[in-house]
């Protein structure tokens, strides 16, 4: 699992690549947390188009970042989840509280 960060205007874009399970959840949480704080952004885009596997450990990290943004009155948007990841977002109810876009930022 790898995360690539970039600034897009005021927003922070985090592109995650690989599999998200319990073995990488802590590292992912830490990287996202730190970058959100350091950049003081209030819009976080999470690009999941290259996430090839995710389970509930990954959802917990996403939910945590949603809360982090919410508490500082910012927003979070998920970009381009693959079908199986989108299904987990729906089954978990997260798709009802977090915005999901099927397009990338550049599109």
């Amino acid at each position: 699992m790898q995360v690539f960060f970039s600034r897009e205007g005021d927003a922070l874009l985090a592109r995650i690549k690989g599999e998200i399970d319990m073995s990488v959840a802590d590292a992912l949480r830490r990287e996202l947390e730190e970058n959100i704080e350091r950049t003081e952004t209030n819009i976080l885009f999470l690009d999941l188009s290259e996430v090839s596997f995710m389970d509930s450990s990954g959802l917990a990290v996403i939910m945590g970042r949603y809360r982090q943004m919410f508490c500082k009155k910012g927003q979070m948007v998920i970009l381009r989840p693959q079908p199986q990841v989108e299904r987990l977002l729906e089954l978990s109810g997260l798709s009802r509280i977090i915005a999901i876009r099927s397009k990338g930022l550049e599109d």
């Binding site: 599999e19 399970d21 319990m22 073995s23 596997f53 389970d55 509930s56 450990s57 959802l59 917990a60 939910m63 945590g64 199986q84 987990l88 089954l91 978990s92």
Partner: protein, 147 residues
Amino acid sequence: MAGKEMAVKNSMSLEFLSLPENVGLARVAVAAFVAQVDLTLNDLEEIKVAVSEAVSNAIIHGYKDNPQGIVRVKATRFNGTLEIIVEDEGAGIADITQAMQPAYSTDPERMGLGFSFMQSFMDEVEVVSEPGQGTRVIMRKNLAALN
């Protein structure tokens, strides 16, 4: 399943230390085993999530992240059915019905969705557990490709 012919077509059993990196190993091994029959990508993804959840639970809740525990994953292909058993000899569960409630978790960092996902993605989920006696999760999925 009573009355059905339950001949074993293939079976494997994988044991490993309760280390986080072995969750991926379990997924890869079960996926390779299951992919011996021609199943849909969707079925394969569902099975991988179910295995990932059960093995993560064994490591996190069963062994409380102690890396010395042994997790066992058994997979058996019958006529029409795939059975996956995930076992640990860890803490065990006092109230199984409560543990299986969606959104119930004893860990505030987690979402309590593991058992829900296992139930969504497999056709049957049985849990056998007692405090101090470890936990066994038995999951079955009916696969057209196995007929």
